[in-house]
Amino acid sequence: MVADVCFHDTLIDSASEVFETMMFMALEKISPEEAEMAEDTLLSSITFTGALEGCLAICCASQDAKLIAANMLGMEPEDDISMEDICDAMGEVSNMVLGSIKKRIADAVGEISVSIPCTVSGKMLDTSLGEKSNMTEEFVNLDGSLVKFQLFYKDN
């Protein structure tokens, strides 16, 4: 049952697993009131379909995305990392976080199929899944970087 799933905990636990395992970065949950997103952001999203359909979106400032990519690649933030590599890294983050969510909700929700991730950069980016969707949103402090996680979903 979808109603039995606490998507807030699932989202945070899944993100923590990925960032701690692959990037050795610890997440600290912060309240939406404390969170002020930068104007220039990078948005990575990945969709899913099946018993539940929706989208996971991960958004952060472009410079913070570079920090995340550097950690993934074992590089220094001041190293030269191409935008292509940064977008690719953020896509992999969303892929792994959704994979972890999928594992955690499988018993309650059933099987879902996952798309290929997509990452874009721009100003004031936002995601939507239409009026009838539900949305769980979490903001985290990631070693000084602000990252927004949004999980949009609706029953199929």
Binding site: M22, L73, N95, S100, K103
Partner: protein, 124 residues
């Protein structure tokens, strides 16, 4: 002699991370090839066979399961070991890929320890 390896993943970043993690696990490798999907992997293996393939599942173009099926349909690659690397963690799925002919499975996110544990039996 160090084993030759092919990394198959549509993400160049993930290929770099896997390579870095293999090195962090202390495993020594011979020649390294890369491919962005199963079709490119089959083409490259046809030209230069490798000992071990580390292959993603969910890729645009030919995915990992189709790659395993096609590779195992050709007996000249019987000795090639295929390790799947994926976020997919359902036991049924993993069993089905192993039944197709994959030799091991690494779940993402992974650690140097999990990579070492899965790869080491195929490195000697």
């Amino acid at each position: 002699m160090a084993k030759s390896i092919m990394l198959v993943d549509d993400s160049a970043t993930m290929r770099k991370i896997i390579m870095r993690t293999i090195r962090a696990a202390g495993l020594s490798l011979g020649d390294i090839q890369e491919a962005g999907d199963g079709g490119e992997a089959l083409e490259k293996i046809g030209q230069t066979p490798v000992d071990i393939v580390l292959c993603d599942v969910n890729m645009p173009g030919m995915g990992g399961t189709e790659f395993v099926e096609k590779l195992r349909s050709d007996s000249s690659y019987d000795s090639t070991k295929v390790i799947m690397v994926s976020t997919e963690s359902a036991d049924d799925f993993i069993s089905s890929v192993l039944a197709l002919g994959a030799n091991g499975y690494i779940k993402k996110p992974f650690t140097p320890e999990s990579i070492q544990q899965t790869l080491e039996p195929f490195m000697s």
